[in-house]
Symmetry: C2
Subunit: 310 residues, 2 copies
């Protein structure tokens, strides 16, 4: 049977893992949080939805204790932990020559980092529009609907893509094969590069941010820099589409009442993923000699704030 690992079993990893497990697949959760792993193994994963609360039995293992081989490893760690995770999984002999490594992480450049460890032909990229929350160790909160866009990182189609697609869809995860997953990744990263750091710096909800009368004037240069860098990487982004998408999240009825995840990371004393959003744009800008002053300033501001925690 196809063996699946979820490397990084936080909220989103939990959601994907539980969905696959409920559909009957062989799934193992891998995580570094001892209490979380213990709770899942002792009591199962408690899942609270809008409708009811139930338990899903699913094996969990600490990263250091992982063993056996997997056919599909879905990476859902924090961006800065993914390389270390993949390196460990490799050293623990859990990856064979046909193992598909599927990154569902937010942010940019994962295929470049992960392909230093495994061939690009084994790497798959996905963008998920699902959301998920963790109420505590072993306690998932699942609300709303979502979808997944998926493609092999080198753009090729193969039978494994179809296998993965089929597993996600029989698990109700609403996946489709994309012909340009990078466009989806960069679109989501643009939204995240604007709202995540700015709401964190300002300590504002998305709605409060959007109430500023010059919000569009404020965010357009940030978006334009990302579009310029994207063009150099042959990613075709549309300014108006991106601005519309960001502005569509302002209303209270949309995501307005939420603080973005970076705000939560920062306020919980965790490092943020800024280096995989605006910081990655700045790094690409240096490579292509494209100025990225607003993304650089935002990256510095978040690093300055992170110093308060670390």
């Amino acid at each position: 049977m196809y063996k699946i690992a979820i490397a990084g079993a936080g909220a989103m990893g939990g959601r994907i893992g539980v969905s696959l497990k409920q559909a009957g697949y062989d799934v193992t959760l891998i995580d570094d949080w001892q209490e979380h792993v213990n709770c899942i193994n002792e009591n199962g994963m408690e899942v609270q939805t809008e409708m009811d609360t139930y338990t899903v039995n699913i094996p969990a293992v600490l990263t250091k204790d992982v063993s056996g081989q997997f056919d599909l490893i879905i990476i859902l760690t924090k961006a800065m932990q993914s390389e270390k995770m993949l390196q460990h999984l490799q050293e623990a002999n859990t990856i064979h020559k046909d193992t598909a490594i599927l990154s569902m992480m937010n942010g940019l450049g994962h295929e470049e980092r992960l392909s230093k460890l495994v061939p690009l032909s084994q790497i798959y990229l996905a963008v998920t529009m699902w959301t998920a929350g963790l109420r505590g160790p072993g306690q998932l909160l699942l609300e709303g609907e979502g979808a997944i866009d998926l493609q092999r990182a080198d753009g090729e189609k193969d039978s494994r893509t179809e296998v993965i697609l089929n597993m996600l869809n029989t698990s109700g995860l609403n996946a489709q094969i994309s012909s340009d997953v990078f466009k989806s990744i960069w679109s989501k990263a643009t939204l995240n590069s604007v709202l995540n750091p700015l709401c964190t710096i300002l300590d504002k909800t998305i709605y409060e941010f959007g109430c500023y009368e010059d919000a569009q004037d404020m965010i357009t240069p940030i978006v334009d820099e990302i579009i310029s860098v994207g063009q150099a990487k042959h990613i075709d982004l549309n300014r108006q589409t991106l601005l519309d998408k960001i502005e569509a999240s302002y209303p209270k009825e949309a995501q307005g009442l939420h603080y973005p995840s970076m705000h939560q990371d920062y306020n919980n004393g965790r490092l943020t993923e800024i280096d995989y959003l605006n910081g990655q744009i700045v790094e690409y800008g240096k490579v292509f000699n494209i100025p990225t002053p607003t993304n650089a300033l935002i990256t510095h501001l978040i690093h300055q704030l992170e110093m308060k925690n670390h």
Copy 2:
């Protein structure tokens, strides 16, 4: 006798006014803060220095009650109040054709705004390196030494410049006539455009800001934009000199342990002077078609924060 008014008698206005008064000049303080004006008139201005505490009797008047004519009006209101103040002083017939209007305010563009109301040949600009504090209504706190750079706004020399210089120097205010007061104004505004908003946004002291290992990389683009805009206005600023000046303020032994004044304004619920610093750079940039993305972002961030107070 030469009649002097201090329009805006906060900490710095108080310091300048008291110094002139102690040297025997005819000085009137003008301010909008009723309690402050009452205290000064009833008890005199209480002055606390490093050495001792004493009282200086000096007349104070509410802006709306001002009358008589002045030969020298020193403007030390908040930047956004100066035009309204000057307009009121004009309507109250306190300005005659030889009255010197001396702006000692921080920020850029004051000569352009004030010269809409009085001829440029009557306007003088000064930069002060003195500092001052207000402990409460009618209570000045005076520490440290300072100096004043002074020039007529149109660059011409005249006898009034000499008269003003002489009054300031006989009052111990360490003034000199500058041959390029705009360079001094822009240098100080550059320092203020970097440290004031960034320490406010980050809620950091100057020392804490400077502890960030990439601080120089963070501030250089902001400074470079100001230099480019300055060049278009024929103001010759030196990057290294400006960076050195900013960095010299980081140590705890320098200004490091202080929050800049904008941080205090913001935290006391007052509007900031951002539109006369980074915001003015952005406006000049538009005129000369010079990109100012980091100054624009900083201006937006401060305006976003101000919405929390107003």
